[in-house]
């Protein structure tokens, strides 16, 4: 009790300095949490993928199409439950700055394969019966203030011309990491217009395959690829996770730099807090030696110094964790064009706590070393 009182009193002796140090820790833990969330956001697509979904694309690269006739052949493979297909549309809404992901999909089967997209029954029916109907994620609809029944025009970049769609449904994400910024419309609509324009119609960029059991994934993908081996369009089938991962790994360089920066952040926290604790110890060397000459054990002095340091970092860390949520939300809104899903994960919070405590402990190493190295007689003589 005496010790606790001493620790609190000690940390209140230089109120301004303590507050500043605490703020330093807050800022650093906050930015660490933010960076971790950026990295998490990078992997959001990977995290959100299901084990029972496979993606098939042209073996050359995503840039190449597959004939839509593959659908029936794939469906006959054992272990396949549902097959959906479609194209990356890449349309632009008014201006390039408004970028969002938009796809032309076989909507009925697609929504079956993605139960995490929650759509009300009536909206689903409306969507499936309207040839020019489209479905948008709740976040995307919010961004442009779209309501059911609104007409949205996209300018095609891959498929020329202006394309009008009517918003018939808005989906919500079932899970925290479901991407609510996507836009889908009927592949049939796209295909019809492609036919009249005499541009490669009846093709799909990707197939999405639902397998009956996740254990069958590897087997099914091998069988599908074997089916089209040595054909005009060879396929590459992989799990949805691996498919998403291939995008992440292509931007790995940036990801690594973000992670490097988060280590630097920890380093900065350490520097700031160590600095303060070093100052504190230097000023109080005389006091510490008084304690020791009075017969207090070194353990007591250790507890006193470490306690103060821990109190400061723990308070700073707590404030930071509380602030992480609103900050990540604001930052996420800014970044939604690049990284659609921004959430603070539990691991981030756990790491925040660990870092705050570890920094608190590490910061008192130097002051402790200084205090114990000095002889009692010298310490009593010392003037800070």
């Amino acid at each position: 009790m005496f010790l606790l009182k001493l620790i609190v009193r000690n940390s209140l002796r230089h109120k301004l300095r303590t507050v500043l140090t605490m703020l330093g820790v807050t800022i650093a833990v906050l930015s660490f949490g933010m960076l971790r969330s950026v990295v998490d956001a990078w992997y959001a697509g990977v995290e959100a993928s299901a084990a029972n979904r496979l993606i098939t694309r042209n073996a050359i690269s995503l840039n190449f199409q597959l004939p839509v006739s593959y659908k029936e052949k794939i469906r006959q493979v054992e272990g396949v439950s549902t097959v959906s297909f479609g194209n990356w549309f890449g349309g632009v809404y008014i201006d390039e700055k408004n970028f969002f992901a938009n796809f032309a999909m076989d909507l009925k089967s697609y929504l079956e394969l993605y139960p995490e997209f929650l759509v009300s029954g009536s909206q689903r029916k409306e969507l499936l019966t309207d040839r020019k109907g489209a479905i948008a994620g709740a976040k995307l609809a919010g961004r442009f203030n779209w309501k059911i029944g609104d007409i949205v025009t996209l300018r095609g970049t891959i498929f020329p011309g202006n394309w009008d769609f009517t918003i018939r449904a808005i989906y919500k994400g079932r899970d925290k990491n479901t991407d609510e910024t996507q836009f889908f419309f009927h592949w049939d609509y796209l295909n019809e217009r492609m036919k009249t324009m005499k541009i490669a119609a009846d093709t799909a960029g990707i197939y999405i395959i639902g397998v009956t059991k996740p254990e069958l994934a590897a087997e099914v993908s091998q069988m599908v690829d074997k089916l089209f081996k040595n054909s005009m369009a060879e396929t590459l089938t992989e799990t949805e996770k691996a498919f998403q991962m291939s995008f992440v790994s292509m931007t790995e360089a940036i990801l690594i730099s973000v992670q490097l920066v988060s280590f630097l952040v920890i380093f900065i926290i350490l520097a700031v807090v160590t600095n303060t604790m070093a100052m504190t110890a230097r000023e109080r060397i005389r006091e510490y030696t008084v304690f020791r000459s009075l017969g207090f054990e070194p353990v007591f002095i250790f507890m006193m110094i470490a306690g103060e340091s821990l109190l400061i970092t723990a308070t700073g860390g707590t404030i930071a964790i509380a602030a992480t949520f609103p900050v990540v939300k604001v930052f996420g809104d800014y970044m939604s064009m690049f990284l659609p899903v921004f959430i603070v994960s539990t691991e981030t919070i756990v790491l925040d706590v660990i870092i705050s405590l570890a920094v608190g402990l590490l910061a008192c190493v130097i002051p402790l070393w200084v205090t114990f190295k000095i002889k009692i007689a010298d310490g009593l003589r010392a003037v800070a």
Partner: protein
């Protein structure tokens, strides 16, 4: 007088070396991060903006944005070339090339993970249109063959890319016959082969991706653009080549700028707090000293300046250290996917005078912000009180 103050500030920093080093180090790291992000963004912009040439014109299908999405039929290409007003080459032919651009995926050397690489179907004119592209090893591809030449970054970063080795794509084996260097431009991340052979194997015979030509005179661009856009038969966009590549850097550099600025904003608050702690403690431990100085006749303003100098030194030292560390980043090549084209692009961290200036200014501002309040506190002390604390 000024030198005396400066010396006083410097000596004080030297006296408490550990604290000084730790504070400056914190600032150095912030400046390092700040500079690194600016260098990265600058590197992308520089690589892409210099990729195109000002006098070259690129024609794409309307609103295609990038070459990979564009298709221009043979007939349209003829019409475009008839409008083009291109420079004529030594052989009397127009300096104009119809190219196709497709993406293939190849495994990277270190991670073995596949990445998207641009394959460009070219003609002999393509090399003349881009004099920066120089063969550094091997030979040029023969017309009508499955020869390919690869950019320097491809040779460095991808598996099986030695001269004489074969790459397999589009159900065909392609022989690497040469390596070219475009001096850190986007072309270094591309593979070039004969346009007719490539379009045949990729079954893209009906259309090209783009038509590129060099203007006789750069100032004729606007007139030419009008002429092509007015032609009702064509649905195309006409751009200067450098502008076209410059646009491709926008998304990445915007992302890096938002990320970088938010980070440095937060970090710098941290560093300023660090400096403030250091400077407050400097004033606290030197109260008696300040009193003595005042008693000797130094004015409040001199005391204020002395402490501000001290923290500016701190910021300056951090800035120099941070910039010094960051300048080494220029040795690194970063290779990442460009979101606009979905293809691999290699570029280097690139520093310029502006970045050095903003890095330095940033660290001095941090130093000043951290030192100004403690300095005011020191300057406002009463002589009698401060002398008594000793």
């Amino acid at each position: 007088m000024i030198t005396l103050l400066l010396q006083y500030s410097l000596r004080n920093l030297m006296r408490r070396r550990l604290t000084t080093i730790l504070t400056a180090l914190g600032m150095a790291l912030v400046v390092f991060v700040f500079t690194a992000i600016l260098m990265l963004s600058n590197g992308i912009v520089k690589t892409l903006v210099t990729t195109g040439s000002y006098d070259n014109v690129i024609v794409l299908r309307k609103s295609a944005g990038v070459e990979m999405q564009s298709q221009i039929t043979r007939e349209d290409s003829d019409i475009i070339e008839s409008h083009s007003d291109a420079k004529t080459d030594t052989d009397g032919e127009k300096l104009s090339a119809r190219e196709i651009v497709v993406l293939i995926s190849l495994p990277k050397k270190i991670t073995a993970k596949p990445a998207n690489v641009v394959i460009r179907g070219v003609t002999g004119k393509s090399f003349r249109l881009r004099p920066v592209v120089k063969l550094i090893e091997g030979r040029m591809p023969r017309v009508g063959s499955t020869d390919i030449v690869i950019g320097k970054s491809i040779a460095k970063g991808f598996q099986g890319t030695e001269i004489g080795q074969r790459l397999r794509f589009a159900m065909q084996e392609w022989v690497i016959v040469g390596i070219f260097d475009a001096g850190n431009r986007g072309f270094n991340s591309e593979i070039w082969g004969d346009v007719n052979v490539l379009s045949q194997f990729f079954r893209r015979q009906s259309a090209y991706s783009s038509v590129i030509f060099e203007l006789k005179d750069g100032s004729m661009f606007d007139a030419l653009k009008q002429r092509i856009l007015r032609d009702r038969r064509l649905k195309v966009d006409v751009k200067r080549e450098n502008l076209y590549y410059g646009e491709q850097s926008e998304m990445m550099s915007k992302f890096l700028t938002i990320l970088g600025l938010s980070l440095t904003l937060i970090f710098s608050v941290g560093a300023v707090i660090g400096a403030m702690i250091t400077m407050y403690s400097a004033t606290a431990t030197r109260t008696a000293e300040i009193g003595t100085l005042r008693a000797l006749g130094f004015r409040r303003f001199s005391i204020l300046m002395a402490f501000i100098f001290e923290s500016l030194f701190l910021g300056g030292a951090g800035g120099i250290a941070g910039l010094f560390l960051a300048s080494f980043l220029q040795l690194f090549t970063v290779s990442t996917m460009n979101w606009q084209t979905f293809s691999e692009l290699a570029f280097t961290f690139s520093i310029n005078f502006e970045i050095i200036l903003s890095g330095m200014a940033f660290s001095l501002i941090m130093g000043f912000a951290g030192g100004v309040l403690p300095a005011i506190k020191a300057a406002r002390m009463k002589i009698v009180d401060s002398l008594r604390t000793a």
